[in-house]
Structure formats: structure tokens, C-alpha cells
Symmetry: none
Amino acid sequence: MPSKTERKTERYYRKREHVVDVAVRLFSRNGYVGTGVADIGEAAGLARGALYYYIGSKEALLAEIHDRVLDPLLAEGAAIVASEASFPVRLRLLSESLLWQIMNRQDHVWVFLHEYQQLQGELRIRFRQKRYRFESFVRDTISAGRDDGALRIQDVDLATLAFLNLHNYTYQWVGGRRGLAVESLSAFYCEIFLNGILGEPGDASADTGAALDRGRALLRTVRGSAA
Amino acid sequence: MPSKTERKTERYYRKREHVVDVAVRLFSRNGYVGTGVADIGEAAGLARGALYYYIGSKEALLAEIHDRVLDPLLAEGAAIVASEASFPVRLRLLSESLLWQIMNRQDHVWVFLHEYQQLQGELRIRFRQKRYRFESFVRDTISAGRDDGALRIQDVDLATLAFLNLHNYTYQWVGGRRGLAVESLSAFYCEIFLNGILGEPGDASADTGAALDRGRALLRTVRGSAA
Amino acid sequence: MPSKTERKTERYYRKREHVVDVAVRLFSRNGYVGTGVADIGEAAGLARGALYYYIGSKEALLAEIHDRVLDPLLAEGAAIVASEASFPVRLRLLSESLLWQIMNRQDHVWVFLHEYQQLQGELRIRFRQKRYRFESFVRDTISAGRDDGALRIQDVDLATLAFLNLHNYTYQWVGGRRGLAVESLSAFYCEIFLNGILGEPGDASADTGAALDRGRALLRTVRGSAA
Amino acid sequence: MPSKTERKTERYYRKREHVVDVAVRLFSRNGYVGTGVADIGEAAGLARGALYYYIGSKEALLAEIHDRVLDPLLAEGAAIVASEASFPVRLRLLSESLLWQIMNRQDHVWVFLHEYQQLQGELRIRFRQKRYRFESFVRDTISAGRDDGALRIQDVDLATLAFLNLHNYTYQWVGGRRGLAVESLSAFYCEIFLNGILGEPGDASADTGAALDRGRALLRTVRGSAA
DNA sequence: AATGAATGAGACTTCATTCAT
DNA sequence: CATGAATGAAGTCTCATTCAT
């Protein structure tokens, strides 16, 4: 009875997906630790026992959510870096791919970026590696730009981190900004980032040395008077 | 007997500070929820009961940590915006002030940026307001730059968020990057950000329209084949 | 599967009742605050976790006990005041109804009359109202008697309180008096109370004025010498 | 230095009295278990250590409160039963003596009547005996009345309990009835009680047998339908 | 006489997980 | 497939009392 088995499996996976959907919503709202397995069961309309039939464990649920974010990111990232597009275009595409997840799957991304520490042992390692793979797409792209000799900045690792900072932290506030489109926010970020890293070194910060030192002295004063 | 009273109070506050120090370290490593009051007591060398003599409640500890980060940030920020420095210098000083906390008080900032959701009720409101006040320093500064007519970008709110993204997310990885100095990382960020927002609109992203569309089509393909 | 569901529910409620039975016994012996949830669990043969599956909270247990006393009291009281019986008969029936609870459910009544202060917030209000409703049955009945013009006393509120004093305080000592029947104790109380309130004013206390004043002077002396 | 010692002792006792005053108020409001030693200290303006210098233990405080109620009651009761007054006058004087405590020292009496169970061991026994001694004054007085052949009721023990019920339970509601005078409430109780116990048996309850039985049948119905 | 600091047991409650049915 | 019942450790917090100073 292969058909019978398959039908069961399909229904099983459908229900499992539903449970994960429910969990994502709860985790993103109340936190991973703040969400009880009982809450998930209740929201999914399943008793505790049945729930475990689908999820295995609470941590497996968290891992599943990680996969849901990382897998498309890796697939799209791989396609982008494999493409023939120019360095700025590749970077913009990576930006759009990343922002698409962040903005269109806010609950998932919140859990992914905020609760990854809750993963322990083997899972922790596995997802650290996956995450690193995505970051490499960005690093390699920027590195190619530098090899073109087009960049003002030289530290590719730091530039990669800056790019990720700029994008990732968006998950913290995007929930409160309805009506923002992926492509326009990506364009905004990239206009800043690309103009920021392209060109001759030192344009904008020039000639501020003395004023900056005076400001630093001021800060030391404030800092000192607090103790 | 002012001296007697004061000496006792001093000792009390000294020990209290020590308990908070211990808590910061544990919260930043294991998470606020993942850290038990018993753990804090053990690490501080205090029995459960004595611990509560100093902390009042676990949440009060979290609030204290928030204050430790926000108070200097607000004091320095206020001094900066009140200074006579030019727009780029003010922004660089804000950057240094913020990065100083992020890099020199990594544990505190980890707790502050990662666990603020655990604050409930009145405390939550109080610290949301304090946080907003610091963000206003950045916003006002950028706004002044735009009024000078010097900015490529027009959306001050979004630029503020970009600035904060760039800096704040640093807390996620700075622990793994020893040997990075506040002033050099701040200079790096500001070179990107200032060059990114200054100047005529549209320099770097120009002429990428067609290539971008081809890339987007590629992404749609990848996205579709996953389902 | 209604039968299946019902059977489970039935079993749940049966066990829940048992837990409440156990709690009543412990609360009445050691006091509400003096009884730990652990004690209840042990006496009911349930682990701490399983106990909470049945009770929800310690205070819910206390509320349940209140209902067990008040609900029959209100049902019977409503039937009595709705009946056609004469004023003395209605009062005797209220007396028997109240004493039935006090004497046949001593543990419940002990908790109800002694620990009601432990209820907080909404529950406190709810049970104050319920209690007041029962007292109204007594008040209305006595009021009807006064309207017949049969009463020696005129203050219906005070007479109501006297009636309740007489009956309620029984919970304090009835545990030490085995072999007392509800009907005979009720008859005793009612013989006193009805003869006490019926008839012309002032019979028994007459002609005691002067002697009373001498006695009061004596008391003042005793009281003064203590200081 | 006898004078020095005496002065110390006096001040000690004055402060001790103050602590007890504070404790009475708190115990009566929040319950004995619900009041912490810290609360008492704070309200008395004493640190924990100093508090224990005066009180010895929390339970000793409770015992002291018991003495404050029972000692005047016993002194006055002894004087009353030793007096030459007639049976009704003696009973009225006992009533006034008891009600004087209940109404003029509501906090003390609340603690005395409500929290006596918290006393353990030797203290429990000691105060049970004291309490019994006061009850004996009532019992002996009523007994003398019966020996005169004036009473409708014969069970002196039960009549004693009824008398005490009537008076003692007053502590439960007297706090909510401002403006009630000891002498008038005592007169009210005694009018009921004396008229209730004096005279030929059976006056008021006569001729109600059949109606009472119908009412009891009604109650059985109500009780049955509840299950 | 008085204090603040410390103790350690015990309070109520929640939780992820298992298992017989 | 699904359930309800059970577990037991761990969670935060309170409390009466003691003791060095």
C-alpha cells in the first residue's frame, strides 16, 4: 500500500507545517523560553501528546524555523554569486534577498536572529555553519569589488559585518513600520552602503580632526563626572 | 551619626554593585530567562535570602543594567547635541559614544539590546522612553545635516534607523573580535555612513536597472522552485 | 465520541472533588496559610505537578470550598423565603438549613467562616455578595415578622446579626460536641431567639436599673486598678 | 544603681508596649501569618535586631495580645460573680464586660478570637485554660439562674455556648458598624437572651410542628436535586 | 541598645516530556 | 493517531530568626 502510506505522510507533513506556523508566531511574540509547549498545543488545537507526535521536541521546532529562513537564503545567495551580474548588482540582489526574508517573514526572522542561542550542541554548530555560508556570499561579493580596485575601504571582513549590521538589525523595528517595500528599503540601504564604500578614501571625514578631538575631550568630561 | 550611617550604606551599595556585575555576566552568557536567581547567588557568594536583600527582584536587576547603559548614553548624547560641533563631527561623536558602550561594556549592552523585552509593565514603558530619547539625538543631528542641504538621502527617520542598525548590531559579533578599537571601528562606520548619505543623489546605484531586473527574475525562479 | 469524552471528564471531576475533599480537611485543621500545596498533594497521593492539573491554584481551591457551602445555603434559603410558611417557621427552617451545613460539613464551614479573608480581589467581592444574599434571607424573614407587629425588638438589622451570631459561632466549638443533632440544636437556638424577640418590650430586663448601675461602678473600679 | 536599672526597665516596657500596639494593628488587619516580623519592625520604627530585643519571638507577641484581652476579662468576671447582684444583673454585667472588650478593643479581640489557633504547645494550653475560666463565669451564673427555677431551658452548657455565640461573633462585623454603644448592644443581646431563656418552656415555638415538617420536606427536595 | 546582614528552609507555581490507553 | 494524566525538577520569592559589630 504505497499510496496509503504516502497519503498519511502528506497529511502528517501538512499538520506539522501548521504546528510550526503556530510556533513561529508564538515564539516571535513571547520568546522561545516564554512560550510553553502547552501554549503551542492549545493554539494548534492539539493535545500535548499529539503535539509531540509531530514535533519531536521543542528544540526541533526551533531548528525547523531556522531552516525555513536559512534554506531560501542559501539557495538564493548561491544563485546570486553564481550569476554574471556586476559587483554592485550582486550586492543589491543579496540585499533584496535578505530583506525579503526579514520583511516578509518577520516572525520567522525574529526567531532566527533573536533565539539562535537557544540551540544547543549539534544543532548549534550546524546552524552556525549555515549562517556562515550565507555571510560568505556577502564577503565574497565585496571581496570581488575590492579586487576591482573600486573600494574606498580595504577591510573586507569589516565591510561584510557592516553590511550585515545594516540589514539584520532591521528585524528589531520593521514590525512597527508598515508600508515599507522590500525594494525601496534595499535601495535605501544600498545607496548608503555602496556610496559609502565606493570611491577615493577619506572624502567625508576630512578636516574634522581638531573638532573631533575637542568633542572627545567633552565626552571624557561627561564620562568622568558620572563615576 | 552621619559617618556611621554612610559607611554602612556605602558597603551595601558596593555589594549591590557587585551583585549586578555578576548578574550582567550571567545574563549576557545564558540569557535573562536562562539565568536562575540561584545561579546569581552562587556566583556572587550569597545565599538566596541575602541576594534578595540586595536586589529586590530579578527584574529590578535587569532594570539596573538598563540604566547602566542608558544613563551614560543619554548624558553624553545630550552634551554632544548641545555642543557647537559641525554636523559630521556631532554624528561621529554620537557614533563613538555608542560604540564605546557596545565595545567596552559588551555584557551590559548584550543584555540591554537583547533582553529589553523581558521588562514588563511600567519598567518597559520607562526604558522605551529613555531609549527613544537617545535615538532622538541621532535623528536631530541627521536632521540638522539635511537642513544644511548636504544630504543625498531625504528620509531622516530611515537614515536614523540605518545609523542605529549599523552600530547596534555590533553587539552580536564584537565579542569574537578582540583588538578592535572604538575609534577605528567608529571611523569605519562613519566613513561608510557619511559618504553614503552625503553628496548628490544616486551616484553609485546608477545604470544598474536592467541588470537588477534580470537578477530579480533569477531570484523569483529560485524562490518558486522551492515552494 | 461523546461517551468517551464524558467518561474522561467524569473521572477528572471525580478526582478533582477528591482533591478538594483533602484540601478542606487540611485547611480546617492547619489553616489555609498553614497548609502547603505540598501537603495537599501528599495527602491526595498526587505529585506537585499533577495537583496543579486539577486545582489551578491554591486560591481556586479556597473558592471551591466557599461555593460548596454557599451554593446549598442559597438554594435552600431561596426555597424557604419563597414558601408559604409563617414567619416563625421560615426562621426555624433557615436555622436548620444553616446549622445543617455547620454541623454536617464542619470542615467546610470552618474554612468558609474562618478563612474568607484570604480570598483576594475579584473572588473576595464575589463571595461577599453571595454571603450577603444569604443574610438577606434572614433579614427579610425577620422584617416580615416585625411587619406583623409581633416583635418586641424593632431593629431588624441588629436582630439579623444576633441570629447569625448565635448560629455561625457554633463552628468554633461544634467539633468538640459529638452527638448533637441539627434539629435539636436548632430548636434550642430558636426557642431562645424567638422567645427573645417576640412579645411585649422589656419583660425580662425590668427592675434591674439600680443594681446594674452598682455593678457598672464595680467594673469601673476593677478596670481602673489594672491600668 | 537601682534607679538606673529601674529607669531602663521602664523605658524598655514602654517601648515593648508600643511594639505590641503596632503588632495588634497589623495582625488584625493582615492576619497573624500574613504579617511579617519585618512589617512590625518597620511600623514600629525598629530594626529587626532591636525588635527581637523587645519581643523575644513572634509567638510571644501573640501571647501578649491574648493576655491583654483575657486578663481584664478574668478580673472583671471574677468581681461580677463574687458580687451580690441577682442572676439577670450578673449576666448583664458579664455581657457588658465582654462587649466592652469586643467593641473598644476591636483589634485585640480580632486577634484573640481569630488567631488563637496559631499558639502552639504550652501557650496553647495555657490560654485554653484561661479562656475556659471566663466561660465558667458565664456557666456558673446561668446555672444559678436555673437553680432558682426561673429558666425555660434546662441545658446550662448549651445556654452558655449560646450566650457566648451571641457575643463573641460580634467581632466579625462590629468594625463596620460605627456608632454602636456597648451598653445599648449589650441591652439588645440581653433582652433577647434573657427573655429567650426565662419563662415557661415552649411558648413561641408552639403549634408549628406540621408546618415545620412540610418545610423540612421542601429542604430535602432542594438538597436532593443538587447532588 | 541597636543594627544590618545573612541564613536556609519552604512558599506557590510552571514546564518539557512521557506513557498507558 | 490522539489523548489526558502524571512527573519532578526548577523557577522566583518570603520569612522568622540569629549574630557580629
